[in-house]
């Protein structure tokens, strides 16, 4: 049942989706890619961002993207606090792998269940002027509810990439993963830098969550579908490479979109995880990663 | 002419663009005591990693007792009789000192050990190295010195025929250095070939029958210890231009 229309729309949808996925994954690209912290609860924070966007959008009528940006600083401090706990409990004693993973697993659960207990399992959505509108270009339709997140996500990715490569703090974050000693000799405190980086990563989830709920309705367990996606993107892109992450997000978006178009949406979840497994088996350092 | 127990030929190892070892040749006769010296970062530990199997060399071959071990994983080399210590001790922290020794006795030395006497053999080793008094202590709570000794004891427990000691004496006092030396001599008397990587020159000179020098991944000298000590190239490498 192949048609050019289907292919073209699938590709475009995939690209838009991929851009959005980059927004969700960029926080993990920092925590996992740079800091080697396996924050499996990352998508759960995104869902929290979605819920906050829903609450403020339905109460005050604000645009979700605006809400995301406004709430980001709060998320930053929450992230910094969580890193403090993580550091005190695990990194300092060198117990990272087993316990750290399980710690975030537990955090993920607490967040998801807390949301269920407070808001129930109903789908929530936001209303804006542009959701529901589509721009037609030839045979291809570009839904605005996907185009806006794509643009915001691209801006977010570019912004963080520039921040990490141009500013002092940004470069310190890149350095802390590779050479703690040099950093300490320069007088910078690795712990504070990691704390800042983690806070930054969680701050991005505020925006990502807002974008998520623009694209479609959200309920608490939606976060779990994204665990595979974000890890697949970060690993495929190559740990520590932001441009690699963006390209990997595109690849995932297009792959999922085409699979959904031609094989049916029930196969889509397997795409991300299958891609992840393939990458781990064949080339664990990803497309652009450091060795 | 005694048997060649270790024959490393043309060992080259690269990390990305960085050449850590270049065309290194190293032979060791049965029961020989070799000192391996060189400035920091010259590739000594990398060479040891290639010999023990923790790393795979990009080029070259390694033969142990006539058998090609180039592609063998570390655990099989250990079973054949290649043992090494780690520069920074890596004890099995959840185990006691005694239990730390059980692992190599039960695995690397399994074909050479008497299965019913494992615990006794472990205790004998602890006595030899002077750790008997803390046999039941948690290995993570040892002092630096004792951890070094445990590291060595664990290598001995593998009943090796080649032992590589990687800077076992760093930071030890003079009498502690002598203790370790005595243990290595005792081991050597039993027929074990020893490669000693050290910066403590007194120990290297006293212990080695032969000295090899690595600088920037290349072997620049190999021969009599006194001659090496007087070699102007070696002196320059250590003191810089």
């Amino acid at each position: 049942m192949f048609s050019f229309d289907l292919l073209a729309n699938g590709l475009v949808a995939g690209i838009l989706l991929g851009g959005f996925y980059a927004a969700v994954a960029i926080g993990l690209a920092i925590t996992f890619g740079q800091l080697d912290i396996v924050n499996i609860a990352h998508p759960a924070f995104v869902i929290v961002g979605s819920y906050i966007a829903w609450i403020l959008n339905s109460r005050l009528g604000l645009d979700p993207v605006l809400i995301g940006v406004m709430v980001a600083p709060v998320f930053f401090f929450v992230g910094a606090a969580i890193y403090r706990i993580y550091y005190a409990a695990f990194e300092r004693t060198g117990q990272e792998s087993l316990s750290g993973l399980a710690f975030f697993f537990g955090v993920m659960f607490i967040i998801e269940v807390a949301l269920i207990l407070v808001y129930g399992v109903d789908y929530r959505l936001v209303t804006t002027g542009y959701i529901g509108k589509t721009i037609e270009i030839g045979v291809v339709g570009i839904p605005l509810r996907m185009a806006v997140p794509f643009l915001v996500a691209s801006a977010l990715t570019a912004g963080i990439y520039l921040y990490l490569s141009r500013t002092f703090m940004g470069r310190a974050i890149l350095a802390v993963a590779q050479d703690r000693l040099a950093l300490q000799l320069m007088g910078a405190d690795p712990v504070r830098i990691k704390q800042f980086a983690f806070g930054l990563a969680i701050a991005t989830t505020a925006v990502a969550g807002a974008l998520l709920i623009i694209i479609g309705p959200v309920e608490p367990s939606v976060g779990r579908q994204y665990i595979g996606r974000v890890f697949a993107i970060v690993v495929l892109g190559g740990m520590g490479s932001i441009p690699g992450m963006f390209i990997a997000a595109m690849i995932l978006g297009v792959a999922e979109s085409l699979v959904a178009s031609f094989m049916g949406p029930s196969w889509a979840p397997a795409v991300a995880f299958g891609l992840l497994l393939l990458t781990l088996a064949v080339r664990p350092s990803g497309l652009f990663g450091r060795q | 002419m005694s048997r060649i127990v270790l024959r490393a030929e043309g060992i080259t190892k690269r990390f990305g663009g960085f050449v850590a070892l270049e065309d290194v040749v190293l032979h060791l006769a049965s029961g020989e005591r070799l000192g391996l010296i060189g400035p920091n970062g010259s590739g000594k530990t990398t060479l040891i990693n290639c010999i023990s199997g923790a790393l795979v060399n990009d080029e070259g071959s390694i033969e142990f007792e006539g058998r090609d071990i180039t592609r063998l994983p570390p655990h099989q080399r250990a079973r054949l009789g290649v043992a090494r210590t780690f520069q920074i001790p890596k004890p099995f922290r959840s185990m006691s000192v005694l239990e730390n020794l059980r692992v190599p006795l039960e695995y690397a030395a399994w074909s050479r050990a008497e299965h019913r006497r494992i615990t006794e053999e472990a205790m004998e080793l602890l006595e030899l190295i002077g750790l008997k008094h803390c046999a039941g202590a948690s290995s993570g709570s040892l002092t630096q010195v004792d951890m070094r000794k445990l590291e060595l004891a664990r290598a001995l427990a593998a009943k090796p025929r080649l032992l590589v000691s990687d800077e076992a004496m760093a930071g030890l006092s003079s009498s502690e250095v002598d203790e370790i030396l005595e243990t290595l001599f005792a081991l050597n008397r039993r027929g074990v070939a020893v490669i000693m990587i050290e910066h403590v020159m007194r120990a290297v000179m006293k212990f080695s029958e032969r000295v090899a020098v690595l600088v920037a991944g290349r072997k620049i000298a190999d021969g009599d210890p006194q001659a090496i000590a007087a070699d102007p190239n070696v002196i320059k490498a250590y003191l810089g231009e």
């Binding site: 396996v38 499996i40 706990i85 087993l98 537990g106 | 023990s52």
Partner: protein, 314 residues
């Protein structure tokens, strides 16, 4: 614990279970106990790879569910009796454990953990699309007629599960205190040092994943007959995976008795809460307990007991 004390306790517990089937009036107890026993097997199994060997597995639900679905498929196709279904599930899940291990155990522990999660979702997607066993809609299982000399089917299932649990605990204990177990502990403490001490790390890790997979499959095999309706969402439930991790971590991962303690404690707590308040609260509780124990008492209850013991007998 001495061998004689251990086997004595095992026999005692089994007899007590049999006794319960004769004396208990309310069938609810068997339902509750079945759930706790199932959780115990999962916790013990998880701990073999997680606690003994140090590799975190997030995909426990997949092994459990495949065990359940193997049961369903073979029951539907061949009408095999329960013991054979259990064996088949053990074989299938053991093979899956071996396969997944072979593909991913060469990676660092962190990547392995993520890979297990990925594997679980991929398997779930396949089962979701497999209409023979009901696909996404799920499938109904009829309660079999035969229940041997027991009064009801659930009593028989309970005794079967009890036997399986005790076997799992015995296997786990054997692993913990054997040469194999010491090799696993060495891998957990320092894989490179273990390898250089002669421990064939890859082979032992594969043994670990295979045993774990098989055990979890066994835990899942009787499940369809217990719940009578199975669909991918309930079978691949992440709650199963959290419990499999939380119970050993709360109980203590280094010792074979840790997961047992954790499962009994947390499992009982969960049953009480489900009955008195709600089942959602269970998940929140497990999450909170997991986080608390990991950060404050990483050695679990066993670790706390050992510390207390040392303090008293200084």
């Amino acid at each position: 614990m001495k061998i004689s004390v251990f086997w004595g306790s095992i026999a005692l517990v089994f007899l007590a279970g049999l006794g319960l089937t004769q004396t208990a009036v309310n069938p609810y107890y068997f339902n509750a106990l079945y759930v706790i026993l199932q959780a115990t097997i999962m916790a013990v199994a998880w701990n073999i790879l997680g606690g003994f060997t140090g590799y975190v597995n997030f995909g426990s639900a997949a092994f459990f569910a495949v065990g359940a679905y193997t049961s369903i498929a073979l029951d539907k196709a061949l009408g095999l009796p329960l013991p054979l279904l259990i064996l088949a599930a053990a074989a299938v899940c053991g093979l899956i454990g071996l396969g997944v291990g072979y593909l991913t155990l060469r990676l660092k522990g962190v990547y392995f953990a993520i890979a297990t999660l990925a594997m679980a979702i991929v398997i779930e997607t396949f089962v979701n699309n497999w209409s023979y066993v009901g696909g996404a809609r799920g499938v109904y299982i009829l309660t079999p007629e035969k229940h041997l000399w027991f009064d009801t089917y659930i009593e028989m299932l309970f005794v079967v599960m009890l036997g399986l649990t005790l076997a799992a605990v015995a296997i786990s204990r054997q692993l913990n205190s054997s040469r194999l177990g010491r090799g696993l502990a060495a891998i957990r403490d320092d894989e490179l040092a273990a390898e250089c001490a002669g421990v064939p790390t890859l082979r032992l890790k594969l043994v670990s994943t295979t045993v774990m997979g098989a055990m979890m499959g066994v835990a899942g095999a009787p499940y369809p007959f217990f719940v009578t309706f199975v669909d991918p969402i309930s079978a691949f439930n992440l709650f199963v995976a959290v419990n499999a991790i939380a119970m050993p971590m709360i109980g203590g991962t280094a010792h074979w008795i840790g997961p047992v303690i954790g499962a009994l404690l947390v499992g009982s707590l969960q049953e009480i809460i489900t009955v008195t308040i709600s089942s959602e609260l269970n998940v929140l509780l497990v999450g909170i307990m997991l986080v608390l124990f990991i950060t404050l008492a990483p050695q679990g209850i066993v670790g706390l007991a050992q510390k207390l013991h040392r303090r008293i007998f200084r």
